[in-house]
Structure formats: C-alpha cells, structure tokens
C-alpha cells in the first residue's frame, strides 16, 4: 500500500517538488508549505497517515522503488517511470487510495478508535460481570469521555453493543476480507486482549509502516462510513462527535485568521503579530484552502480571478513564475496563489467521498 501511496504522490507532484515533500506529507508536518502542497496537488488524503515514520525509513522506501525500476532519482527529486505508472494502474490497492482522508481526520482517527475500542472492552466486561479489568487505553482525554458516555448507558450496556454490532457489520462486510480480519483481531473484549499493531504486521508479513498506512486506511474508511455514508449510524456517530475538525489550520495561521475575523488587514496583522508580510501571506493561502467561504474579492477583483483562472488552466502548471509571466506580471504572487487556492484546491475534494 505504501508503494502505491508514494508513487501516486510523486505522480501528482509532477516533479515540481522534491521527494522530501512526500515525506513531510505522510508524517503530517504542520507547516504552511506542506499544507499548501497537500491542497495544491490533491494530496490531502495522505496527510499524516504515517505519523512517526523516520526519514531514513522513507528514504529506504524510495531506494527500494528506484531499484525496482518504478522511480528514477534525479537530484533530490524522484520521477515515476513508465513501469511505475503501469504498476500503479494495475495495482489492486489503487482504488482504495481514494478513501484516505488524512487532512480531515488527522488525529481524530486514532482518538475515535480509542473511544470505540475502550467502550467495547468496557461494555463486554461489565456485561459479563467483570468489573476489574485494565482498560486498553490510558489516554486521560479518552477515559474522561468514556466516563461520561458510560454514565448514560451503565444500566443497559448491551443496547449500544447490539447497535454497534449492527452498524459495524455493514461496514466490515464492505471491506476486503483481510481488512475486516485486521479490524476484528485488534479489538479487545471480555477477558480477551486484541493484537497489537506490531503483531498484526508480522502476521500479515508487512513492514511496520506498510501496515500502519493500511491500518489508517481502515480507520479512515470507518470514519467516512460514519460521516459521509447514507447508511444511518447513530451509535457510531456518537463516538466521532467533536473529533473531526471542519477547518484545519496551523496554530499560527489560526491566530492570523482570528485577527482577520476581527476586521484587521494584512498590514495591521504584521504589526500586531510582529511577522513578515510573506508569512502572513502564507497564512492567507492556508486559510483560503481550508475555508470554502474565504472572501477572495477582498484581495482579487472578479475580472482578475477569471483571467488568472484561465491562464492556470491553459498552462496546466502550478509553477507560479510561469503563470505570473504569462500574465505579464500584472498580478502579484499572492493574488495568483489565492486564486489557485480557492478555485483549484482540494477543500471540496476533501469532503466528497
């Protein structure tokens, strides 16, 4: 799976970024650059799906793909070869890639799973009369949430268990056999502890991160099912409540956004926050990507928007310099980037599944 993800990312980056950009994307680096790349090249799905991966491990993956003839290393960039393209096209897993929703779920997928698995373990044990068990999560936030949820259902725990069973069975039936197996094997129940990620990876003979991205895929699909699917999932929805942020911004961009909402302009924000203009511009781009209702007309006139948009489409490039020149330098980089952000970016993409 990791192979397909890396090939697909490099393909979409069209050599306009180094392969390190893919690494930053996969580990979910919270920088304006990485977020912009994710939007610009329609890679938001892969954001942060391999958290904790070491750079050396990633470099090894690239090397492996080069030696397989899937990639060609040119300087610090990696180009997908025809062989790589063919592999990607014929890959069984390729159609699964669309389910990734990393930027939207980011940390939510793990928290969601911790809530869900902790509840199943708790309900199963207590229903069977075992009040002394070590919880599978020791995350304080999750334990606190659990306490509140438990207080509501303590006298009828079988009820949510039954509902969860029904709702999840529909979902598991849609997964490839192996993925459903992995999901069930990891669950803990009454006097039974589930398998660890490391054990599962070994069982299916997968490398650590190959397994982790597969595991994230299953969680993302489950959340997609809960949030976007038309099948009603009232009980599962409860576990996702409050976790999925609608707008993802770096902390610094969030502060800039707060000031914008108070009616401050770029100049004032630079002064108040003691930031360079270019930094605040980066924030604007980030906000434009994240927010479907970004007030583009405050920065670019509607005629300019359509003119810039046409050039971008004609050039089929995302290289700013080319676009700027093609427009006879009549518009600033900020204006071009904002138009790209609002019109070509993936925020709409991130929502449709």
């Amino acid at each position: 799976m990791l192979t397909e993800i890396i090939l697909d990312s490099l393909k979409k980056l069209k050599q306009e970024r180094t392969s390190a950009a893919v690494y930053h994307l996969l580990v979910g680096k919270r920088s304006s650059q990485t977020l912009q790349d994710a939007h610009l090249y329609h890679l938001t799905g892969y954001f942060g799906i391999a958290k904790g991966m070491e750079k050396q491990v990633f470099d090894k993956e690239i090397e492996k793909l080069v030696s397989k003839g899937f990639l060609l290393q040119i300087g610090d960039k990696a180009v997908v070869t025809q062989k790589g393209m063919d592999f990607l096209k014929d890959s069984e897993s390729k159609k699964l890639l669309q389910h990734y929703n990393g930027l939207v779920y980011d940390r939510a997928s793990d928290l969601f799973y911790e809530r869900l698995s902790l509840f199943i373990q708790t309900a199963a044990n207590i229903e069977r009369g075992n009040h002394r068990f070590i919880p599978v999560s020791d995350n304080q936030e999750v334990l606190r949430w659990m306490k509140n949820y438990y207080a509501v259902y303590r006298r009828r725990l079988q009820e949510p268990l039954d509902q969860l069973y029904d709702e999840m069975l529909v979902f598991l039936n849609r997964l490839p056999e192996q993925h459903a197996e992995i999901f069930v094997k990891r669950l803990s129940g009454y006097s039974h502890f589930g398998m660890s990620k490391v054990q599962l990876a070994a069982l299916y003979d997968l490398d650590k991160y190959d397994f982790l991205v597969l595991y994230q895929l299953i969680l993302h699909r489950l959340l997609n099912y809960v949030i976007y699917d038309s099948t009603p999932t009232p009980t599962l929805s409860f576990f996702a409540r409050g976790l999925v942020k609608e707008v993802f911004l770096t902390d610094s961009a969030r502060k800039t956004n707060d000031l914008l909402k108070q009616g401050r302009n770029v100049e004032e924000i630079c002064r108040i926050r003691k930031l360079k203009e270019s930094t605040v511009h980066d924030h604007l781009i980030e906000i434009a990507y994240a927010n479907p209702r970004f007030p583009l007309s405050d920065y670019v006139s509607s005629e300019a928007v359509s003119e810039i948009g046409k050039q971008i489409e004609r050039l089929e490039s995302r290289k700013l310099k080319d676009i700027k020149q093609a427009l006879d330098d009549r518009y600033s980089y900020l204006q071009i980037r904002l138009v790209m952000a609002v019109y070509r970016a993936g925020w709409q993409k991130g929502v449709e599944q």
């Binding site: 911790e114 199943i120 309900a123 199963a124 229903e127 069977r128 009040h131 002394r132 068990f133 070590i134 919880p135 599978v136 999560s137 020791d138 995350n139 304080q140 079988q158 268990l161 039954d162 969860l164 069973y165 999840m168 069975l169 598991l172 056999e177 459903a180 197996e181 999901f183 069930v184 094997k185 669950l187 803990s188 129940g189 009454y190 006097s191 039974h192 502890f193 589930g194 398998m195 660890s196 990620k197 490391v198 054990q199 070994a202």
Partner: protein, 516 residues
C-alpha cells in the same frame, strides 16, 4: 486487633490470608512506630500501606521514584473500585493537578515522586492535611550504596520534618544490611523497627549456561522452550535484541505465541502486549527491564537472562517474577564472552566524565562573567551543554550540595575550580562502584559453589530449603524438570464474523432469534 486486621484484609482486598511479613509490618505501622520493611519482590509490599490507608484517619503519602509503578498502582486500585487515589508526577496534566490540589483532602492515598516534594507549594498543601503515614517506597534509592541512588531522596527528611513527623514506613525489596543502616540514617530515624524477610524463594532453581556467542544463546533458548513450553520471560538489555529475538523464536517455535516488549513501543501496543501476557494469551515475552514493573503474573515458570542486568539487586528482582504461585520455576542465565561490554557502556553513559564536567563548569563560569545567574529551561540547557539529563542531574545535585546552586539559580561565583575537582572525583568513584556491581554478578555466575547461597548470602543470614531443586551446582538438571506447562492455544482458522460476534456478545441474540 489481629482478627480485625484479617477481616479488613478480606474486606478491602479480597485476600484470605496475609503473606509473609505483611501482618507484622502493618501491626507496627498501626501502632505508630517507624518501620523499615525489607520484603522480597512479589510478596505484596504495597498492601503494607494500602491496608493502613483504609484503616487510619487522614491520608497516606507514598513517595515512589518509579512513575510507571505509581501509575500502575493507581490504575489497579481504580480498577478495584478505589477512586480516592492520586499520583502526582510529571505526567499529570496541569488541569488535573490543579483540580486535585483543591480537593486534596478527599484522597486517602497520595503517591508522589521525590521531585514533587521539592515544590514548595505542594509541600505546603500537604502540611494542611492530616498525613497519618509517610511511606518511602523503593527505599534503597536513598542510599549511595543502593544500586539506584536518587539524590532527591536525600531530602526526604526535610519533608518529614515539615509534616511534623508522621510515622514513617520505608520499604524495599533489595537492601543489604549496609543499605538498611543508611536508610534509617538518611531519614533521621535511628530507632526504626526493622522487619527483614529473606528474599530467596524456595520454588526457584538456578542455572547458568556458558555459550560461545549470541546465536548459541538463541539456539539454547529454542531448545529449552521446545522441551519445556512454559510461560517465560526473556530479558535483554537492548530494544533491538528483543525484536530480533522475538522474530527468531516465533519462527523456531511455531506452536508458541511470542512477542517483544520495550519502552520504545507505541503506548496502545504496550498495553495490549502486557495484558496479553498477563491473560495467558502469550507464552513468551522478550523484553527489556521496562517490562515487569507492577507485573503480577502468577504462573511464570521460567525467567531467562539473555543479558545480565547491571547489578545483583535487579537480577534478584527480575528472577523473583517467576513462580509467584509457588510452583517449580527456573532462572536460567546465558553467558558468553564480552557480556560485560554492554553494561559498562551503559554506566559510562549515565555518569559524566571529567571532560563533560569541565565543559559544564566552563559554561557556568561564562554565564557568571556575563552577569547571568539564572540557568535556562532544562531542555535548552541540555541542548547547549550537549549532555544527557541523567548526567546533568548528577552534577546539579552536587552543585546544590556544595551550596553553589539553588534551583537553577547560581548562588556562588567563586570556588568553581575546586568543585570541578571534587565532582570529578565523586563521579569517578561512582563509576568504579557501578562497574564493581557489574563484576559482582559476573563473578557470581563464575562461582563453583551453590548458586543460591552465593547470590543471597550478602543480603540475609539464612538460606531457605528449596521446595523442588536448588541449582545446577547442586541438583538441578533441565532434563529432569517437569514443570506444570500451559501453552496458549493457537487459532487454527480465524473467522472474523464469528470472532466479532463473540467480542460484541452477540451469541445470546442469535439464540433468541432462532428460538423466537
């Protein structure tokens, strides 16, 4: 009172009888005496203060250096329904800490790290409470001659004084007579009642095998486990080795469930692996010393040391995890040439050498020249000094001891050359001491006399009569060992639909549908 105690034990902890030493210690504690208790690992040390906590008015304060142990105990007590327990340490969120501060009198059992006692606000809060017992857990940490000396422990007597001398209970599993004396001296409690119980366990036999190299060690483990498939812990001193060994053993022993455990694992995986082992879903765990704190699995039959720990005390503790149920169990040590290199390296990484001491003092002197007397935050400081936290803590303690520093504040601008010499001497002495501890254990493994006698003689006067066999020098042979074996069942075929139904307790529902 005796009958009261027994019914209290059953009432609060569900145990029918006291284990060796518990009753004697608790009785003295309830009489308000200062007590030093040396109880072997796994003999239920914590009951010695957890039961008094239930029976005495006010709160019991427990000082423990092991954050993971504190958290395990808090978790276990919470699982048993005791919510009036709190552990103060660096992992506690600020929010939770503040809430707990406001509500401190509601807790019966307060765990705290020695570092917490250096916070004036915390001690002030404690003074407002009625502390009925002051417990020092892992009390050997107080002694320079203990294997895990913690400088912060030396200030405990100040807190005891600030709390107006509540009864003190010091507990340890491993303390030589020398260390025992030091404990009561450092706590300024010369009249402590000592309850010392032997730590050799009569159901554990010892064997040491000398082998060519690590790969021979691995072969030996496979063959032992093939002949005796029993719940087993294998100790390693490196994380890499635990992973490598678990993979190799899994391949060699397809009928056993084998996993690794070390401190670098993801938290959710750590919980699962630990609990699988506790729950008899795993047969063999390849682990570092990070595994086992607070582990109370009854049926571990075999503890193998692939690498030896850096001192006898840790070895005894790790071996003591075997056979808690009293059935025949074995400690197997595997030795090969150059086994001392790893622990030596470890010791050198813990204590500063003269170059590092010079660098730190040079840094401080340059700060003084700049007129800066306040050192930066810990992580920034460590970054600019290029030194480990352990090494810095060692030096800071000595700076403070000599009155050169107080809480990150430089209070003296003179005498630093002198201090450099002194600290270098202390560090060198400490390094020598630790290296001698490594040699002690290696020396033990080379002995030709009875292994039990050689191991436990420094700690106690008498050696118990073994229930089963003694050691390879006396009467033990693996070929004659017939332990109670219990191997986890392997899943032949896995059907996720079936398994999912089971986990979600859907069995009854099926029947209902069928019958209805």
């Amino acid at each position: 009172m005796t009958d009261n105690l027994k019914s209290a034990l059953e009432n609060y902890f569900g145990h029918q009888t006291f284990r060796e030493g518990q009753r004697e210690i608790i009785e003295d504690v309830l009489l308000g005496k200062d007590v030093l208790g040396i109880l072997p690992t796994g003999s239920g040390k914590s009951v010695c203060y957890q039961l008094p906590a239930r029976m005495m008015p006010g709160a019991v304060l427990v000082i423990s250096p092991l954050i993971s142990l504190m958290m395990d105990q808090e978790k276990q007590l919470a699982a048993a329904g005791y919510k009036d327990v709190i552990a103060f340490n660096s992992f506690l969120s600020l929010q939770k800490k503040q809430k707990a501060y406001q509500n401190l009198s509601a807790y019966k059992l307060i765990y705290a790290s020695p570092e917490m006692l250096q916070k004036k606000g915390f001690v002030k809060k404690l003074c407002e409470l009625n502390i009925s017992l002051f417990v020092v857990d892992e009390a050997h940490c107080i002694s320079q001659w203990g294997h895990e000396f913690r400088p912060d422990y030396l200030k405990l007597h100040q807190t005891i004084e600030a709390l107006k001398h509540p009864p003190v209970l010091a507990l340890s599993a491993t303390a030589t007579p020398e260390v025992q004396k030091d404990i009561s001296f450092q706590l300024r409690k010369p009249a402590m009642v000592r309850h010392v119980y032997p730590m050799d366990r009569e159901n554990i036999a010892f064997q040491v095998d000398k082998l060519e190299d690590p790969s021979e060690k691995m072969k030996r483990i496979s063959s032992v486990l093939k002949a005796h498939p029993v719940p087993t812990m294998v100790y390693f001193s490196s994380r890499n080795w635990t992973e490598k060994a678990a993979a190799e053993l899994s391949a060699a022993l397809p009928n056993m469930n084998i996993a690794f455990y070390h401190g670098g694992m993801e938290q959710s995986d750590r919980i699962l692996i630990q609990q699988q082992f506790m729950n008899d879903q795993l047969d063999v765990i390849c682990c570092t010393s990070a595994f086992g704190m607070g582990i109370n699995k009854q049926n571990i039959r075999l503890v193998i040391h692939f690498h030896l720990p850096p001192q006898v005390e840790s070895f005894i503790q790790e071996v003591g995890r075997a056979g808690r149920d009293g059935l025949s169990s074995i400690s197997l040590v595997l030795l090969s040439p150059n086994d001392d290199l790893l622990p030596r390296k470890l010791i050198q990484s813990e204590l500063p050498d003269s170059k590092e001491i010079h660098r730190v003092i040079h840094y401080i002197k340059s700060k003084i020249q700049q007129g800066v007397y306040h050192l930066p935050e810990l992580d920034i400081l460590l970054e600019s000094l290029q030194i480990s936290e352990t090494k810095w803590r060692f030096m800071r303690y000595h700076f403070e001891y000599h009155g050169m520093m107080d809480n990150n504040q430089i209070v003296s601008s003179l005498e630093w050359e002198n201090i450099e010499k002194k600290i270098s001497r202390v560090a060198a002495r400490r390094t020598r001491y630790k290296l001698s501890k490594v040699n002690e254990l290696l020396w033990w493994a080379e002995q030709s006399e009875c292994r039990r006698k050689a191991l436990f003689a420094p700690f106690q006067d008498t050696i118990k009569q073994p229930t089963y066999r003694c050691c390879d020098k006396c009467d033990f042979k693996f070929s004659e060992w017939s332990p109670v074996t219990k191997v986890t069942s392997q899943l032949e075929s896995f059907n996720w639909k079936q398994a999912f139904k089971q986990i979600m307790l859907q069995g009854d529902r099926d029947e209902k549908i069928k019958s209805g």
